[in-house]
Subunit: 270 residues, 3 copies
C-alpha cells in the first residue's frame, strides 16, 4: 500500500470527526479518549445496558475491549454489538488476555459469531482466538507476532473480519491480502493503554470507511499510530514524557513525515 493512500484515511478522520463508542477496560478509558481526541475523532463511553442500544446508532463505530470484563459489562457489550449489526455500524474486537482466562475467552468466542469488522490483538490473543494453544503471560504477548501470522489469516478467513496482530512488526490481513508494518518504538509497551487505544483508533478509521476498505483502513490506523509512537520516542526517551509526546504526535502528524517514516511491505500468501 502506498503511504499517501494510507494517510488519506487519517485525513478523513480529521475532517469527519467520527463518534467512536468505546466499551473498554477501566484502566484505559482516559487515555483512549485522549488518543481519539488527538487524532480528531470524538470519543464516547456510554456503559449502561439500558443506554448502549440507544447510543450505538448515533456512533460511527464501536470499539469493544475485554480487559476488565465483568458480567454487567458483558451484557452491555452484547447489546452494543447487536445494535451495531442492526444499524450497520462496524465494531472492533480487542480480545485482551483471551486464552488463559475462561470467562472472557468463552465470551470472546461467542462474539466472533457477531461479525466484528476488525479483530486486533497481540500474538497470544490471536492464536487463542483462532483455536490454537498460546502461552500468554497475563496481557503481554510472549509468542512473537510472526508466529501468529498463520493464526491471523485463519481467523480472518473463518470470521470474515480483518485481523491485526500487533507487536514489534504488525500484520494486517483479511485472509487473502496481508501487509507487514514495522514502525513503532519499545516505549509504546511502557505506557498502559497504547494497544487498547489503538483498537479505538482502528474503530475511528473504519468508522469513516466503506466495508470494502476496512483492510486498508486498519493498516492505516496502525501505521499512523506506530509512526506517531516512533516519532515521539525521538522527542522523549522515558515513559512519562513519552506518553505526552505520543498524544502530541498523534495530533500533529502530517502527510510528508508519515510518508518519509512508513516502513511497510506486502506479505505473500502462505
Amino acid at each position: 500500500m502506498l503511504a499517501p493512500d494510507l494517510f488519506s484515511f487519517a485525513v478523513r478522520v480529521r475532517e469527519r470527526a467520527p463518534l467512536v463508542h468505546c466499551l473498554t477496560n477501566l484502566v484505559v478509558t482516559n487515555f483512549t479518549a485522549n488518543v481519539l481526541l488527538a487524532i480528531g475523532a470524538a470519543p464516547a463511553m456510554v456503559v449502561a445496558r439500558e443506554e448502549v442500544g440507544e447510543f450505538v446508532p448515533l456512533a460511527n463505530a464501536v470499539s469493544v475491549n475485554l480487559g476488565t470484563l465483568d458480567l454487567p459489562q458483558s451484557k452491555a457489550i452484547r447489546a452494543a454489538v447487536e445494535a451495531a449489526n442492526r444499524t450497520h455500524k462496524p465494531w472492533i474486537l480487542d480480545p485482551v488476555a483471551v486464552g488463559p482466562l475462561s470467562f472472557r475467552t468463552a465470551f470472546a468466542f461467542d462474539l466472533l459469531d457477531a461479525h466484528p469488522a476488525v479483530i486486533r490483538g497481540n500474538a497470544s490473543e490471536i492464536i487463542s482466538l483462532s483455536g490454537g494453544e498460546s502461552s500468554a503471560r497475563g496481557v503481554d504477548s510472549t509468542a512473537f507476532a510472526e508466529a501468529a501470522l498463520d493464526a491471523a489469516q485463519l481467523l480472518a478467513l473463518k470470521t470474515g473480519a480483518v485481523v491485526a496482530v500487533t507487536g514489534p512488526t504488525d500484520y494486517v490481513t483479511d485472509g487473502r491480502r496481508t501487509v507487514a508494518l514495522s514502525n513503532g518504538s519499545p516505549l509504546m509497551t511502557r505506557v498502559t493503554g497504547v494497544g487498547c487505544a489503538l483498537s479505538a483508533t482502528v474503530a475511528a478509521f473504519v468508522g469513516v470507511t466503506d466495508a470494502d476498505d476496512f483492510w486498508a483502513a486498519t493498516a492505516a490506523a496502525i501505521a499512523y499510530s506506530s509512526i506517531a509512537g516512533e516519532l515521539a520516542s525521538r522527542d522523549a526517551a522515558l515513559p512519562g514524557s513519552f506518553a505526552v509526546a505520543y498524544l502530541d504526535r498523534l495530533a500533529s502528524l502530517d502527510a510528508n513525515v508519515f510518508s518519509a517514516t512508513l516502513v511497510s511491505r506486502d506479505v505473500e500468501p502462505t
Copy 2:
C-alpha cells in the same frame, strides 16, 4: 463582577482545601482528582451506595456527573443527593449527554427535584434539561452556547439553581443576573474531562461559599479554569502537553495574571 472579587473565591479554596465528593464518570476520575488537587481542593470518589450516605456529611460539596451512569451508580447518586440535602451541603449536577439517551435523561429530570445548587452543561444539555429540543451529537454540543442562554435562565428560575452553560463563551445565571465569560482555548475540548473536572471545580468553589454567593462562586470557578486553559494554550500548542500545562496553570494562577486576562461582561436580562 470585578476580577479581585472573583479571584477571592480561588484564594478561599486554597486556604480551606474543601473536600469534594465526586460521583463521576469512569473516563475522568483521575483527571478530575488531579484538577481538584491542582486548585488546592481535596478530592474523594467514594462510590458505593453503602458508603455515600456516611461520606457526604464529611465533605464540603458533592459533584454529580452522569457521563457513564448505570443502575448501581444511579442508586449511589440518589443516596448522595439525599445526604447532601439532609446535611445542607451544596451539590452540582453535570448532565452529560442528557437529551438523546432516555435512561439518564429521565434520571436527570428526577434529580432536578432534589435541588442542585448549580447545573453546569453544554448548550445541548441545558436546552434538553430546560424542556427544549436539542440536537446533541453524543457528548459534544452542536447548538451554540448563545442559543442556550434563554434555556439557562428558564432552568434557573424553574429549579432555583445557578445554571452555567459552557462553550466558546460561558454564561452563568441565577435567572436574574447573568454574566458572560469569554476566556479559554479550543485546546480545552481536545483533552477529555476538562468540562467534567470544571463541574468538580465549581463544587469546590461553592463548597467554601454561602448560598447567597453561589452565582458568583460559579462564575469564579469557570473564569479561573478558563483563564488557566487560555494561559496553558500559550505554553503548549498540542493536546498532550496542553493537559500537563493546564494542571500546572491551575496550580499556579495568581491574582494579577487572573485580573489581566479576565474577559467578562454582564448580560442584560432577556
Copy 3:
C-alpha cells in the same frame, strides 16, 4: 539498611518483571499501571469475581486497594485473596479511608484474618486498623505518621504483616525491626494515586522476594518511590509536570543516585 541492599530489590524487579494483579480504585487504575510499567513490572487489573481466582495464580503478587470499594469488588477481592493464599502469593492491603466509613472498615478488618504480607496506609488508616481512634478527614491523613508508629508496630505483631505508615517520614516495621525513611516531596500529595501506586510498587517488590525479606523489600519499594519523587520535584515544581517527571524518574533511577539521596535510620523498639 544499606542503600545497595535496598536498591538490589529494584534491580530484581527490572530483571524479572513481576506480574502484579491490582484490585484497586477507579481513580488510580491508569496511573498505577504506568507506575508499575515505569519500574519494570507488569500490571494486570482483572476485576471479575469469575476471573480473579484463575488469574491470581499467574501473578507474582496481588495489590488490594479499598478506595472505591463496592459490593461486587468486595467479592472479587475475597476471591483474589483466597487464591493468593492457596497459591502462596503475597498480597498487599491498602486500607484507603478506613476508619470513618463503616462498610470498608468492617471489610478491612475481615481481610486482616486473610494474612496480608504488607499493609500500607497513612497514619489515620493504620491507627484505625490497629483498633485505635483516628481523626481521618476523607482520604487525607490528619494524624501525623509519627503518632502512628506505635499503632503500626502493634498491627504488625497482631497480624504478622509488615506495616508501612507513609507520610512526611515513612515507617516500615515488622513489629520488631523498624526503619524510618525521610525522602520524598510535598508534590507527591498533589498528584492523585501516588500513594495507591506505591502499594502496587510494594507488591512488585515483595513479588520477587522470599517472605523472610518482605520487611526489607517494602522499605526498598518506599525508598525507591520517595527518592524518585524527590528527584522529580527538582525537575518540575508544579503538579502536572511533576507527575510526568515522577514516571520518568521511576523508570531511570540508578544505584548511585539512589545511594546518594537515601535518608534512612533504624528506629529503636518502643
